[in-house]
Symmetry: C2
Subunit: 355 residues, 2 copies
């Protein structure tokens, strides 16, 4: 291992790379990590010098607050290589802003831009061989922060650890996705933490999702917890509904994550002249549109899967199958978005940022 000190970062290079052990054609999402990670500790009311170092386990006291009180947030973003082997990020400023919004909501310190953005750039340069070019290939980026202060008392931690880890990812075809519309369980409360990428929001969904899985549905579309009449979002994706040629999606709120894929797709669709309506979408509308044949498509939108077409939904024990479409809006928008991300189409929005 070799250590470099700059003004801003300490960089400890791994003596060997694991890259040759990795089968880049058969990657299971989120399971393989690159050689290095970024780590930055918050202690005594201050962020310490960030360190880039070999990916490895680390020690925690059994009483750290992330275990007991769930002070933990994360982001999910991707890096892409173009045909000239240049490395790109997609709207990293949006992830950075959202991360700090999540931090505030979870009573955690905001991370400085030079740690998050510059740190990420440094880390990516070091592990850039892990990003393969070609439209199916990306590097999934996982910034996260956990409370590392000790003591089993339900109050905010004084100490935190911010990390960025990197995982090479193939764009995946997740098979036919059927969804269940939530009638009892829910994801977020009014005045709760649904709009934050807080760890606790995800574990909370595993049990109701497993019940849906048992009935043959891969995902749940969550509804508002008070009335279960409004369609909100899926586990890790915002949701779009195409009725005739209009695209509908719920407005973001304190219950719904402000997805970057969602807002990018809205911009692309509007630029394409598609009628996009951002308004509460009722379950009853969806059922009605399915019955009268105007419901053409449903799809999820999120960084991991980009766009995930849904083949049908179940509500009150009735399964509604969607028609096969020749001319899928989901796939057309997905193609336009991934072309921008991989620098295969002009980025008129100014979303892509070179590493």
């Amino acid at each position: 291992m070799s250590t470099t000190q700059t003004n801003k970062f300490e960089i400890i290079k791994a003596s060997t790379s694991k890259i040759n052990e990795v089968d880049f054609e058969n990657l299971s999402f989120g399971s393989v990590f690159t050689d290095h990670l970024l780590e930055c500790d918050y202690t005594n009311g201050q962020w310490q010098k960030p360190v880039i170092k070999p990916y490895a386990p680390f020690l925690l006291d059994p009483s750290v607050r992330v275990f007991h009180y769930g002070q933990a947030i994360f982001e999910g973003m991707k890096a892409y290589k173009d045909d000239d082997e240049a490395l790109w990020l997609f709207r990293p400023d949006e992830n950075y802003k959202r991360f700090n919004n999540s931090a505030v909501r979870m009573a955690m310190p905001e991370v400085p831009e030079e740690v998050f953005i510059e740190g990420l750039n440094q880390l990516l340069q070091l592990d850039e061989a892990w990003v393969k070019k070609g439209k199916g290939n990306t590097l999934y980026i996982r910034p996260f922060m956990i409370a590392t202060g000790t003591g089993v008392i339900a109050s905010p931690s004084n100490d935190y650890k911010f990390m960025i880890i990197l995982s090479p990812a193939k764009s995946y075809y997740s098979g036919e996705v059927k969804v269940l519309i939530a009638e009892h369980y829910s994801r977020a409360a009014n005045g709760g933490i649904g709009a934050a990428k807080a760890a606790g929001n995800y574990g909370a969904q595993f049990y109701p999702t497993s019940l849906a899985n048992k009935e043959g549905f891969q995902q749940v579309i969550w509804t508002d917890d008070a009335t279960h009449t409004k369609l909100e979002e899926a586990g890790t994706m915002n949701v779009f509904f195409r009725i005739n040629d209009t695209l509908l999606t719920a407005p973001v709120s304190e219950r719904i994550l402000d997805g970057i894929t969602r807002k990018s797709l809205i911009d692309i669709a509007e630029k394409e002249g598609i009628d996009v309506q951002i308004r509460p979408v009722l379950v009853s509308e969806l059922v009605e549109a399915s019955k009268n044949g105007t419901l053409k498509e449903i799809f999820g939108a999120g960084t991991a899967a980009v766009v995930n077409p849904i083949v049908g939904f179940s509500y009150q024990d009735v399964y509604y199958e969607l028609p096969k479409t020749e001319d899928s809006m989901a796939l057309r928008l997905k193609d336009m978005l991934t072309n921008i991300q991989h620098k295969l189409a002009e980025d008129t929005f100014g979303w892509t940022v070179k590493v």
Copy 2:
């Protein structure tokens, strides 16, 4: 260190004890831990042999799911010593049941009774010198479970770690507690995880509680997230309201933790002939009762503080002060409960269990 193997447990004793370094008269809650902890890992679909060993930090991979998806639950219970130095637990079966209910809701494996209950007994015997006799002294017990499986994909972990750590605690007087009634933020959703002791429920409250702190309120009383008209519970306590000589408390629900202190106080109060009403309590009722002088007391009930009298509440920017009472129901019930716990009164309910 000496190691003992029994059929069921591996016991590794610390070579020296930290007990002489501890000032038992000046303990800050939840910050000092005893010499040993219990650890039991779940891998390959099975609970492994539990180990009792010296309290120490342990290694975790940066991608473990407790960091990213908040699969983490806990319990809070206490051990007491009577005047003959015998060690007692209070309704441990209730904590055990609730722990496994939390596990199911968070898609985590249930912990076997011999690990949780027998393990706790073994651990307490080893560290029994840390429990001091006398009514103000207790040992706070923190069983918890975290997801230790690696991989940043939002699905349940395959691996888990169950632990029990112990912290000596003085009964505390937390000063005058003023509370704020929640009008915007909330703790739990309908169909959410509010009834589980899931880590994510607590971190979610820190920010709104810090806003209340800034206005001079130590705690928030949460209301239902849909209408904010019903009084639910405080951060780590259920809440009771005394109107004239009637004691009111909200029914437990999927939004409210089924507190063991709460249900024990209800039983004691009923035995004392107090009129107890378990029904939704409206904020408007509370305000009305305060205005017309029938509101006599409000108090929180939970394992840590036992009973926490509240001196006043704020709602819609109006502060309602409670009258000073000579004859406090809160303190009377607290005394009866702690007398049972410390074996100073006959336990006609059969709640106390010898270690």
